[in-house]
Symmetry: none
Subunit: 121 residues, 4 copies
DNA sequence: GTGGTCTAGACCACT
DNA sequence: GTGGTCTAGACCACG
């Protein structure tokens, strides 16, 4: 199994998400060259067009930029990366609250549980 | 696809998980009858055998019990349900910490972010 | 029919029982490789899925463990095997007492008969 | 399921065994009338010829006798019944020892285990 | 109608 | 080659 895509989200979005996390977590740093579409296409076992679409999204978000014949690079706009990181983190937290709610954990209890867990770790 | 299964986990486990959450969140209450294997088979668009396997897992966990020709029911052992709920919550929290770590959020910041988010909501 | 199944018990349970006895009696030792699902399927003249179900039971009982692409093996937890052996022996003894009772042999006479028989052997 | 026959023994022998136990345990007493072949045929869901064969075996063993137009009856020879009971018991005990041996319980331990179990009951 | 068992046969991932 | 998953479809017992 090369990657593990979910059925309920377009693949290009899943790839985008994966690369986004690599950028905001610093796996790919400012001005790092992003692997070529061909390479990514191989890695994700996806059609180059799908990769292209994912990268376009990232470019629209201002996380990467293109140098014509040179390739694509992570933006040097660290502020932008940080902003994206915050948004992502925020989304995950919302998701987390929603899941907990679905299970029936009261919102005020969530923080308590987390603090407790943090001590354990 | 009515339900949306992930590729990287057996369907029967995903169904199991879905029903488990319905039980620990109280959507299905103690002694509630669980829809028949055939109904669930229709609902999840899965083979009856797959449903059976999912329900067997839940029975092994002590969350449901079977009345042979009558149907399957949520256990009346509320303690067991609670135990399962706690374990599930714990798993989700661990997952949450791991994801955050992957993105590059320090553990001690996580709680702060959550508290902040909680105020917003 | 090579094996001889009883009508009143699911085949998978009978297979489970047969293999269980091989384990607790030491025919299969700790860490021994169990014949492959396909081999057993041939030997017991049963469907591979039926074998699988039998082996899953044994795995649930902690008597065997699986190495994904390698095969299934007898647990190295000798304590677990011993525990299972004791339970099995206990069951057989209870059964024995029940049968004797059904025939009309008083419980206190059973032991006497056994002791006597033992001398003969 | 009316009775539950094993595949590895002729049905007539299994029926014979069942009736034999009823006789030696006293469910059917000396001189009791045995149900008619037709009745037994219905009860065991077996062909009347099969029943006949089973009853013939019992007659050969001296456990039942036939009154021409009247039916079949349990022998009044209590000694014979007792002898048969002893043989049956003996067989079961041998079987029991064999099973234990198969599991790997030493013969001398069997009696100890039984005595212990008897105290429990 | 309910759940349970079983088979046949296919496909997958891993090595 | 290994085990694991899944489907389709049949049959059974119980009520």
């Amino acid at each position: 199994m090369s990657f593990n895509f979910t059925n309920d989200t377009p693949i290009y979005l899943q790839i985008m998400e994966d690369i986004k996390i690599k950028i905001i977590s610093g796996v790919y740093n400012s001005n790092d060259k992003i692997p070529s579409v061909r390479e990514l296409s191989f890695k994700y076992e996806a059609n180059p067009n799908t990769i292209q679409k994912a990268l376009n999204e990232l470019e629209d978000m201002g996380l990467i930029y293109t140098e014509r014949t040179n390739g694509k690079f992570v933006t040097d706009n660290n502020e932008q990366i940080l902003k994206c990181k915050n948004e992502t983190v925020n989304d995950i937290i919302c998701d987390f609250y929603l899941t907990m709610e679905k299970i029936g954990v009261k919102r005020k209890d969530v923080v308590a549980l987390l603090v407790e867990k943090e001590k354990e770790l």
